[in-house]
């Protein structure tokens, strides 16, 4: 079992509020990512859940039991830090077994559990290695194994992949997914890397400016952002002002039907890859001048300036020149409409 509930959690640091009114439910066996820019307080949340930092107010409930009064060492939640933090005076097996030793598990039983987790995390043959003989990826796996071996209700992972190179990161991602499937451990995973969050998690919680803005599956967040900030966070930089009138969004350059109620002010967003660039005039579009071209490999990022707005589009082909005039077409089905919105 591994259910985690956070109820109206407020966390301050040096009397400065870091996290405001965070409520979150994580179901048994889920991998949930906390996604947000660096410095938004993601690690702070994990520390609060692990019991290493007292929240200012709010409740933390693990498996239906409030744990606010429990010290970190008695909580059924294990935090794995960003750095491996392996004890240099212990070997791999002893590091993995550290928590079992603290829990006074008999040596024989502990040894069996350690062997099992070593096998799961692909560390076979390294049990008696010294820590400084391990590569960065191996160290990170030992750190993961050290948490997993305790079979906690919740495993809290604080950017465990950020110190690894691209290839190792991919391997670790797969490993974490596989381990999660095999052990069914509930995991709360903190990251600032969108692709990492998308690849690894069942659900993602987006944290911006100290509050939880949206929780949902990766595709929900990507295609149906809850507000313009979330949209912007996921790289959606094209905003069109307008209003909603009788089930119709009327913008400066685009119009589309919407189910939202009428509003004198509304915003439509469109992802850069959904804007279609062409040389011919089309409905639901506008003309602009190319001001910048960035070749990014499989796509090219084109910045286009219209009379009073700047748009960014992704094109599959780099056949543009600066100062060229192009037509932008906004497919109505790709527009995502927000009613009038005020920053929280």
């Amino acid at each position: 079992m591994g259910r985690l509930e956070l109820q109206n959690l407020n966390i301050s640091y040096d009397n400065r509020p870091i996290i405001r009114d965070l409520s979150l439910d994580i179901n048994d066996g889920e991998i949930v990512s906390l996604l947000g820019p660096s410095g938004v307080g993601k690690t702070t949340i994990l520390k609060a859940i692990a019991g290493l930092l007292p929240p200012a107010s709010g409740r933390i409930i693990i498996d239906g039991h409030p744990v606010d009064h429990l010290p970190a060492e008695k909580r059924d939640a294990v935090l794995i830090f960003q750095k491996p933090l392996l004890f240099p005076f212990l070997n791999v097996g002893q590091n993995i077994g550290f928590g079992l030793k603290m829990a006074k598990i008999k040596r024989l039983a502990a040894s069996k559990q350690i062997d099992k987790i070593i096998e799961i995390t692909g560390l076979t043959g390294l049990k008696n290695r010294k820590i400084h003989q391990l590569s960065g990826g191996q160290q990170q796996r030992v750190a993961l194994a050290r948490g997993l071996v305790l079979e906690p209700s919740i495993l809290l992972l604080d950017e465990p992949l950020s110190n690894l190179d691209a290839k190792l990161r991919q391997q670790m991602r797969e490993l974490i997914s596989n381990v999660q499937t095999r052990t069914g451990t509930t995991m709360l995973f903190v990251t600032h890397d969108q692709s990492e969050a998308f690849a690894i998690s069942n659900r993602i919680c987006v944290l911006l400016d100290g509050s939880l803005r949206q929780t949902g599956t990766p595709t929900q967040l990507f295609y149906q952002p809850a507000d313009p900030d979330v949209a912007r966070f996921f790289g959606c930089v094209n905003f069109i002002d307008g209003q909603i009138d009788k089930g119709m969004f009327q913008g400066d350059f685009a119009r589309c039907t919407t189910s939202l109620s009428d509003s004198p002010k509304a915003i439509a967003v469109i992802r850069p890859e959904d804007i279609i660039l062409s040389s011919d005039k089309r409905e639901n579009g506008t003309v602009g001048t190319v001001t910048q071209i960035q070749f990014e490999g499989s796509t090219t990022r084109v910045t286009i300036e219209t009379d009073n707005k700047t748009f960014t589009a992704l094109s599959l082909r780099p056949d543009f020149v600066v100062k060229q005039s192009v037509w932008l077409y906004f497919p109505p089905e790709r527009l995502h409409i927000f009613p009038h919105y005020q920053k929280p």
Partner: protein, 263 residues
């Protein structure tokens, strides 16, 4: 390559051991006058004196020195580790003043420190007692311990402790099974410093101990005074031996980790 290493090894050995050669020669000589390079006649007189006639005196000196140095070392570690942690790990108002105050007994000549404290110790009834001598030794040992441990903690990541807590370690276990093993090389150096510093104290022991605490250095000086060079040489060797053993013992701990480095 091999030759180079041998040259290095033997030259180090030579420079360390060479000063001991005259001591060894003196301790086994019966007659040794200028201008001869070697003693004119050898004999075990000095050794039989310190193991026979003066045996009990030397033994009690050894015991006094050893117990003083051990107690001083233990107390300076017990006080110095938390203090070093506070100075190395945390930033607080007045940290520089604390540093200065700590280093003061080392900067000020030991004679003035001991003389100044002597008056107070007499008033407090600490003069000529074991406790008093331990305290005066601590004024020299504790700063070194704090600086060594402080240095260790300034390069220490307290996240290790949080990680251990999250893995289920209670505060006591964190101290015993995380912090102490992490800083063991530093503790070893600090302990060695304290032990050797206390072991070789002469002036402060003489002033505060007032001749009641007959440690090995006190005996050594009185023997030197008497002008019996072979005996003084033999006592010197006895004096060096425990210090040498302490160094060897700690070398194991130092070599184990820490000094070797990770990269």
């Amino acid at each position: 390559m091999r030759l180079q290493r041998w040259t290095l090894f033997s030259s180090v050995l030579l420079t360390v051991l060479l000063p001991f050669l005259p001591l060894i020669l003196w301790s086994v000589s019966e007659r040794w006058f200028y201008p001869d390079l070697l003693p004119q006649s050898f004999g075990p007189r000095a050794w039989s004196y310190i193991f026979g006639t003066a045996g009990s005196q030397i033994a009690s000196g050894l015991i006094a020195s050893f117990s003083l140095a051990s107690v001083t070392t233990i107390i300076s570690l017990v006080l110095g580790i938390p203090a070093g942690r506070a100075l190395g790990l945390y930033d607080f108002a007045g940290k520089k003043i604390v540093f200065l105050l700590l280093i003061l007994p080392i900067i000020v000549p030991p004679l003035s420190v001991a003389m100044g404290l002597h008056l107070w110790f007499i008033r407090l009834g600490l003069a000529e007692t074991f406790t008093g001598v331990v305290l005066i030794h601590l004024t020299f040992c504790l700063p070194y311990t704090i600086f060594v441990i402080g240095g260790v903690f300034s390069d220490y990541n307290p996240d290790f402790e949080e990680q251990a807590r999250s893995l289920g370690a209670s505060p006591v276990k964190i101290v015993l099974q995380v912090i102490l093993p992490m800083i063991l090389p530093g503790i070893t150096v600090a302990a060695l410093f304290s032990f050797l510093l206390s072991w070789s104290q002469y002036l402060s022991t003489l002033i505060i101990g007032g001749g009641k605490m007959l440690t090995l250095p006190i005996l050594l000086f009185s023997l030197m005074d008497s002008g019996d060079r072979p005996v003084a040489a033999a006592v010197s060797l006895v004096f060096v031996l425990p210090a040498f053993l302490a160094l060897m013992g700690s070398a194991y701990n130092l070599g184990r980790s820490g000094l070797k480095g990770v990269r």
